[in-house]
Amino acid sequence: MSDQLRELYQQVILDHNRNPRNFHELEHATKKVDGYNPLCGDHYTIYVEIDGNTIKDIGFTGNGCAISKASASVMSATLKGKSTEEAHKLFDVFHKLVTGEPGSLSTAELGRLAAFSGVSEFPARVKCASLPWHTLNSAIEGDKETVSTE
């Protein structure tokens, strides 16, 4: 097993893939958006309950690889209770992390998102990791009902 692979499939990712958090519909969702990766057929529906500018709750359903499912799970756990501004900021942090953009992101800034640090070595998988975030972003912006990574 290559080190790169172990770096990609970290325990946190395998754990969130096996037991995804907030993996359910949201009864009181204020917005629901579908995200597709047409290349591999990944499909998630992200539900958010936004009160003012606070993300009160997030849930998701759907199907996809370990990277996308773990990403949706970690994202939901990370953003619950955060403000939409903070969510935007973390989206930016996550995007830089998975695209391997040089820059010093501190461990504190990354938090549990650090588990996705191996993704940047796998260009074909960046879309998997970012699909849930793009979808959520759209739910917060409220401009689309479907998001595609293509």
Binding site: D42, G64, A66
Partner: protein, 423 residues
């Protein structure tokens, strides 16, 4: 090769008599080009595209080094040489698929373009409101969407013949769906996603008895099976060059001369006309009527080199070898814990779609890739089919003439690593 898969010889020693795989592998430079930190390439994505032998690569180099010119235009030496090579390629294709005349061979960019040509030219002329087009549940998107576009435009109806749980066409249902309203029937020779070989002879007979025109999507047929369009009596047969060891951007649409002749041109431009004035344009004869613009000359010449290469080895010998790999790999895969094969038809081309419990195909693909093993993962441009089998995606290993049992073993080894990581 329409022999029942079950009657093919399967012992390795016998196979070696048919096909010298080592020698064949020597013809494919890419197979000797290590990837991912020095690992040998195990290329099992042949249903997506095949690798190219030196015979094809060298032919293209020679064309550009010695023969490059535009075709059907110049009076000069090179134009004659290029035109001659291009038209000889047409003869090669004609012989390869058993067509009656070169006029019946239209060069395209690939299978997709061939199907769109028929939908847009034949379809728009012959399909009207209330008419029906019949396809099957295991078609590639390229044999679904062009018909949907046509049906939408004309107010016609697209009907879909179902498959059973093995991925085989339910022939009685297919027959039942043929009505006097059925204008055209389109189906794959073999399924890219499951490998199922359709009983096309029977299907063509039934469709003709109902008065419908038949198009075969031969993208997965020509690389694996002997094709004789006159013997099959299909009206159209489309295939791609790059899936049969030729260059990308090349393809062939075969059509019966009388049918092609009655069809209006599809794209307008140079080469497809006899004379043009602002009042009236007279179209060129077959097949040029359907070849507007400068064609993919180098590609077509390369395609002919590829078909010559396949002919020299023999499609039946290739099929026998591929069937051996199919049966060997199927047996080994079924022994992998939690693995399920999607598509278990009695007659299959060398394509195996599979799912592994608890692991998404995309993750399987990434892990195998680290081992130098190339498979396809995803929906294989057959989303309705994925829905039919209730899987979002599958992994797909597809074998070609240069693959070996050792490579099937490497696939199994790679899958064990996947299981190790995920369990």
């Amino acid at each position: 090769m329409t022999t029942a898969a079950g009657t093919l010889p399967r012992s390795a020693s016998l196979i070696q008599d048919f096909l010298d795989v080592d020698r064949i592998r020597g013809d494919f430079p890419i197979l000797h080009h290590p990837i991912r930190g020095g690992r040998p390439l195990v290329y099992l994505d042949n249903a997506a595209t095949t690798q190219k032998p030196l015979q094809v690569i060298d032919r293209i180099v020679r064309y550009y080094s010695e023969e490059n010119s535009n075709v059907h235009r110049g009076v000069h030496y090179l134009s004659e040489v290029a035109t001659d090579a291009y038209e000889k390629a047409r003869t090669t294709v004609k012989r390869f698929i058993g067509a009656r005349d070169e006029k019946e061979i239209v060069f395209t960019r690939g299978t997709t373009e061939g199907i769109n040509l028929v939908a847009q030219s034949w379809g728009r002329k012959n399909v009207g409101a209330g008419d029906e087009i019949l396809i099957t549940a295991i078609e590639h998107h390229s044999n679904i969407v062009p018909w949907q576009l046509l049906c939408e435009e004309k107010g016609a109806r697209l009907r879909v013949a179902p498959v059973n749980d093995s991925g085989e066409l339910v022939l009685e249902e297919f027959a039942r769906l043929l009505t006097p309203r059925t204008k055209l029937v389109a189906f794959g020779h073999a399924s890219n996603a499951l490998g199922t070989i359709n009983p096309i002879r029977k299907m063509i007979g039934l469709a003709h008895a109902a008065g419908a025109v038949v198009l075969i999507d031969g993208a997965q047929g020509v690389p694996h099976l002997h094709v004789d369009v006159r013997d099959l009596d299909c009206d159209f047969y489309a295939f791609s060059g790059h899936k049969v060891y030729g260059p990308t951007g090349t393809g062939v649409l075969y059509g019966k001369e009388a049918i092609l002749d009655a069809m209006p041109p599809w794209q307008g431009g140079g080469d497809m006309i006899l004379s043009v004035s602002f009042e009236k344009t007279t179209y060129n004869a077959l097949p040029y009527k359907f070849e507007a613009g400068t064609p993919n000359i180098e590609g077509v010449i390369g395609l002919a080199a590829a078909l010559d290469y396949v002919s020299a080895i023999g499609i039946d010998a290739i099929a026998t070898h591929e069937q051996d790999l199919l049966h060997y790999a199927t047996k080994r895969l079924l022994a992998v814990e939690g693995l399920r094969i999607i598509g278990t038809a009695a007659e299959k081309a060398s394509v195996i779609s599979f799912v592994l419990e608890g692991v998404h195909p995309h993750d399987i693909g990434t892990i195998l890739d680290q081992e130098g093993i190339a498979i396809r993962t995803g929906h294989h441009c057959a989303q309705p089919l994925m829905m039919r089998f209730n899987v979002p995606a599958t992994g797909r290993a597809s074998f070609a003439m240069y693959n070996t049992r050792e490579e099937a073993d490497a696939l199994i080894g790679g899958l064990q690593k996947v299981i190790e990581l995920f369990r």
